[in-house]
Amino acid sequence: MLNFNSPIMDTKEYSEIKISEVEPILKINLRGKSRDFITKIGKELSIIPPTESNTSSGNENLNILWLGPDEWLLYSNNKIDLNNINILENKLFNEISKAKIGSVTNVSDHWIMINLKGKKVFELLASGCPFNFNEFKKTKGSVTQTLLNHIDVIIHNKNINDLNLFVRRSFSNHLWSWIKDSSRFI
């Protein structure tokens, strides 16, 4: 068997902040411009990709984050076994990419997901992120792509003071160090 390796595999707690890397989960990048694409995704996943910017849609298993007018990130809430990922990826690929209405790319390992929880998570973010979270934090499900400590991130507001942050794997170790360092001072 091949061993699974994650760059972080850690959880840390500070006063009012808890940070942890989340179990490997499915992440698929979806692209498409047409109405067909939206309908097809809706049909396959029973979730309509949001067309309103900076928002998300989802159910108990899956979330679709708006990344751009023709780009979404699909991710699962829970660890999904590999076979299921393959099946889902193949199904979507066949229905979307092969059908020439968009593209489907597995990015499960491209992104690392870090969960940030606690009353002071937004202070933590404010120590390295120029994004204005004033409205964001009030709106469950809101999504933003921005920079945190000069690193590209996607942030999904799951719940009150409960965020999922996506960072590219090769940057994740560095960002994790930085988050830990920042949390000392919040």
């Binding site: 390796n5 760059p7 490997p24 990419s97 593209s103 120590s127 004033n134």
Partner: protein, 1001 residues
């Protein structure tokens, strides 16, 4: 502490907590709440520094950020010492050590003071006029000039403190916590606006906080008492954030402001540790209210720089706020009413006020009458003409002013004093307003520049907007705020305000003297030692613009950035040149408002966080196996893996040989990988790359070269056709982000009609590359069910496969010229696959190799590295890669540029191989190439781009670009080094296995 200099009934200083500190090595005491300046004054120390040029004794002049003289070195430790710190802003703490600067051996006896005697020889800008001969002596002159210049000393060890950044977004930012700022913040916060109020002091209230005077009352309270109650109510406002010890440093466009919060500078030495010293707030405010107040102006007269000469309002703050008497017998010199407030305060605290010397004719404002009632002596229409006392003022001389105020007349009166308060009126602090791009207007009546037009959503209120009377301040601040925020708050309507009104205003920028101008010194810029005379000299010499005068005389360029001197410089220029001040304009106020510590600007982006470090999924293995790393952009790449005491050369020779003799393994995960899907994917690649893609079979790989629109090679890599409309592109490590963004650019802006989607998958895949004659055997062990026959899986093709049930893509491609495979597997399993390959390869002595060996191996085969063998001036034709240009294609990026008159020249620099006559001589990369060695200067034909000793060929090899190189094959050339000329021969670029036999071995 001199007991008799402290008054005891003071509310702002904790006179129960005694603090010890050192100044110039001497242990002194102050109280909690003191600044270094107030504590020194309480110890009867005025002399704290020497001036920049003449080394004249200088004392504390002010009580805030405008202080020009009292700048000290704080701390002795080489890592935390801090130069040029204003004593007026240092909050006293236990263990503080400070010392005077720019003097030797001591502030009391300073050798440099000899400059004062030479001062007639060193007028403004004298240095432009001398030190020119002997011509090569400037270095020597400069050595001494430099030694005597500079103020404090830089630390010599790295800083131990931590700095931090924080972003803040608010509806309203109020800068300045004086009376107008407090009212504005309250009005805003009560209207449900998310409001932030900042002030650079340790508490709110500004000067009103200690204004206890019969002439300034609100609702029959003293103004200080009224304001204190207002401040207390602020705590209950939930939309309001208050930040004290926070000074606004810069106001940029789009209401982006930087503020520095001081978190530990005021703490005792042992409390500072492990805390953030300063935090830079990066504020984005929807609306900004500037309430930064005004600064008192000095007066410009002969010898106005002696220790003990202070701004009148500062003397007031020292007595009313710190409970410190700046002297026992104080004289005041003024052109306006505010000195009378000082006189009354001093009088109330039992300090003798000798007299108030006022350049105005007798005036009858409320406050003047109050002073007269207290029996304070006033000399109207008089002016100080000289002062005495070397290390501290001991007397002043004053005379009557003539009716036109151009000369002094009558008898000279001498008055003994130990302190002189001067007041030249008030300058609104418009610095932030102008930093933000706002334009100023000039108000003639009291010679002030005021905020006029601004592009940004902001207003100025209070005295920084030119309101100097209490009732105006209150009324206008609230009205302006209401209007600005489009609200209607009436909390401050119907206040009953008593406020003394200044009736008479008069200003003389340069006061007349009984001596010729050149004979005395009237200082404008106290720190830089520029005088009124210097300004006049500049004007005489034709320096007319304010910026010229400023630069020629250095007025306003000291660490206080001319806070006290700029207005007078302008005034004197205007007067001398006979122009109106408003027409002259001002100099530009540049950020920061007060000097800002580098560490604060940088925050925690130091050390580990200086720049992002990117790691491959196999990184830990390289670390465990003692790899040396190379920085490639932000990536850490394994460079070579030394065994034992091997140096780099030895390791690389071993790795290179192993890779060709048996098997090598390389972490290629850093290569950029872009997933391309869409029905026009092939057409897109046709336009992006120089070669054709439509006919590439599914399952095949192809090398592509990408040009810039100027025809020069930009990036390269192998792209694989995964299915009809699906490709996987690889890019160079360094080029990945740029290539993706460039392709997105073309796709979105030039070719939106193409149905193509690009998604980066660089981090999704780890790439394990195994090469060498045994690579096939190793791969068979790992993926037994994959048919690796040349027929089924030829060079430049790809297969989907499973390793332990995990999907992967295997490409048979080669950058070394060896039979070679790249396994792309999702990153989480990459390290495990690497280990598996390593394990399987052990019997074949599989050898991990790094980037250096990779470079060597590819050079043996003549493969280029974009960025090393190309430098932005090489076309594919120059690289002798004509074969990759599909001439039949209608267009591709950069095509047209290949046909310009210079790019079609046949004798351009072209990529060639080089062999040294001595096979053991390794050329230096970057060395130049010439065809003859006798002439001077010699024409350089090109340079060595890559050079190695090849252990597989047992000789040194090199790639180079040489003018007309294509036609010079076989020709002798020279590589001229500092100490020798190396003979070389131009060859083909392929040194090893020209027939590509090894690919299929």
């Amino acid at each position: 502490m001199s007991k008799n200099l402290r008054i005891t009934n003071n509310k702002f200083i904790d006179q129960t907590t005694k603090i010890s500190f050192k100044f110039d090595g001497k242990t002194l005491y102050g109280f909690k709440g003191d600044t270094l300046a107030s504590a020194l004054l309480a110890n009867n120390i005025h002399l704290v520094g020497r001036s920049f040029k003449y080394h004249r004794p200088r004392g504390i002049m002010a009580c805030g950020s405008e202080e020009p003289n009292a700048i000290v070195q704080v701390g002795n430790d080489a890592s935390i010492t801090e130069p040029n710190t204003r004593a007026t802003e240092i909050e006293l703490y236990e263990g503080l050590e400070a010392s005077s600067q720019n003097c030797w051996p001591s502030v009391n006896f300073d050798i440099g003071a000899v400059n004062n005697f030479f001062s007639p020889l060193i007028p403004a800008a004298f240095y432009y006029k001398t030190f020119m001969w002997p011509a090569n002596f400037w270095k020597l002159y400069e050595y001494f000039i430099r030694k005597s210049a500079g103020l404090g000393k830089s630390p010599t060890e790295p800083d131990k403190d931590i700095y931090d950044h924080r972003y803040l977004h608010c509806d309203v930012l109020v800068v300045g916590g004086g009376i107008s700022g407090i009212m504005a913040a309250k009005v805003a916060a009560k209207s449900n606006l998310n409001t932030v109020l900042i002030d650079d002091k340790n508490n709110l209230g500004g000067t009103t906080l200690f204004q206890k005077n019969e002439c300034f009352k609100i609702n029959s309270f003293y103004s200080n008492d009224w304001l204190r109650k207002e401040i207390e109510t602020l705590n209950s406002l939930k939309n309001l954030t208050i930040k004290t010890r926070t000074s606004l440093a810069a106001y940029h466009s789009y209401n982006y402001l930087l503020a520095r919060e001081n978190l530990t500078d005021h703490l005792d030495l042992n409390e500072k540790r492990d805390k953030i010293r300063q935090r830079l707030w990066k504020i984005r405010a929807k609306k900004v209210i500037i309430a930064t107040g005004a600064m008192e102006r000095p007066l410009i007269f002969s010898n106005n720089d002696r220790p003990g000469i202070m701004l009148s309002s500062s003397i007031k703050k020292y007595i009313d706020y710190y409970g410190v008497k700046c002297g026992q017998k104080i004289s005041l010199f003024t052109n306006n009413d505010s000195a009378y407030e000082t006189a009354i305060s001093l009088n109330n605290s039992g300090v003798i006020v000798n007299s108030v010397i006022d350049i105005r004719n007798k005036t009858n404002s409320l406050i003047v009458k109050q002073a007269e009632k207290l029996g304070i002596k006033i000399y109207w229409k008089s002016s100080v003409v000289n002062t005495s006392g070397y290390k501290k003022i001991n007397s002043i001389e004053f005379m009557k002013l003539s009716d036109d105020a151009t000369t002094v007349i009558g008898k000279k009166i001498k008055e003994k004093c130990d302190c002189l308060g001067i007041s030249g009126g008030w300058t609104p602090r418009v610095h932030l307003f102008t930093q933000s791009g706002g334009k100023l207007k000039f108000r003639d009546v009291d010679n002030v520049f005021l905020p006029d037009k601004s592009e940004l959503d902001q207003i100025s209120i209070g005295s920084c907007n030119g309101d100097f009377e209490l009732d105006d301040v209150i009324k206008n601040s609230v009205n302006l705020t209401n209007k600005f925020l489009k609200i209607n708050n009436n909390d401050y309507e119907n206040l009953e305000i008593i406020s003394s009104k200044e009736i008479d205003k008069k200003n003389i920028w340069l006061l007349p003297s009984d001596k010729p101008l050149g004979k005395t010194k009237q200082f404008l810029d106290f720190q830089n030692d520029s005088t009124a005379n210097d300004v006049k000299l500049a004007l005489r010499e034709g320096f007319k613009s304010i910026e010229h005068v400023k630069r020629y005389t250095t007025t306003g360029m000291a660490t206080d950035q001319g806070k006290l001197s700029n207005m007078h410089a302008l005034g004197i220029i205007a007067e001398t040149a006979g122009v109106k001040m408003g027409e002259l304009g001002t100099t530009t106020f540049r950020p920061p408002y007060t000097p800002l510590t580098f560490g604060t600007i940088v925050g925690r982006n130091v050390g580990e966080f200086f720049d992002t470090t990117r790691k491959t999924p196999i990184h830990e293995w390289h670390v465990e196996n003692k790899a040396e790393f190379e920085n490639v952009g932000q990536w850490k790449r394994a460079w070579y893996y030394p065994i034992g005491n091997e140096n780099m050369h030895e390791a690389v020779q071993r790795e290179s040989k192993a890779a060709r003799d048996s098997a090598g393994i390389l972490d290629a995960s850093t290569l950029g990988k872009i997933d391309i899907q869409g029905s026009d994917a092939s057409e897109f690649l046709n336009r992006i790359y120089t070669n054709a893609w439509s006919k590439l079979e599914i399952g095949k790989c192809r090398y592509g070269l990408m040009l810039n629109e100027d025809g020069m090679v930009y990036d390269d890599g192998v792209t694989t056709r995964l299915s009809e409309n699906h490709y996987l592109m690889t890019t160079t490590t360094g080029g990945a982000a740029n290539v993706l963004s460039k392709m997105e650019d073309y796709l979105q802006t030039e070719w939106p009609e193409l149905d193509v989607y690009l998604t980066s998958v660089t981090d999704h895949y780890g790439t394990v590359s195994i090469c060498g004659p045994n690579s096939k055997r190793i791969l068979t062990k790992i993926i037994p069910d994959l048919d690796l026959s040349d027929k089924e899986f030829p060079h430049m093709s790809f297969k989907n496969a499973l390793i332990d049930n995990i999907k992967c893509r295997v490409m048979r491609i080669s950058f070394t010229g060896e039979h070679s495979y790249e396994i792309n597997i999702q990153s989480s399993y990459a390290k495990s696959v690497w280990e598996k390959c390593f394990e399987a390869g052990k019997e074949f002595n599989i050898t991990p190799y790094g980037t250096e060996t990779m470079h060597l191996l590819r050079a043996e085969k003549g493969f280029i590295i974009a960025g090393q063998d190309t430098d932005g001036t090489m076309t594919p034709v120059d690289l002798q890669m004509d074969w990759i240009i599909n001439k039949k294609k209608y267009d591709f990026i950069g095509k047209r540029s290949l046909y310009r008159s210079d790019t079609i020249r046949e004798d351009r620099k072209q990529l060639v191989g080089l062999l040294t006559d001595d096979p053991n001589e390794i050329l230096e990369e970057g060395a130049q190439i010439v065809s003859e060695t006798n002439s001077q200067p010699v024409e350089m034909l090109g340079h060595v781009t890559s050079s190695y000793y090849s252990p597989n060929l047992n000789k040194s090899i090199a790639l180079a670009v040489v003018k007309n190189g294509k036609k010079l094959k076989g020709q002798k050339m020279f590589v001229p080094m500092k100490d020798k000329n190396i003979s070389v021969t131009i060859t083909d670029t392929v040194f090893l296995d020209k027939e590509n036999k090894r690919l299929n071995a």
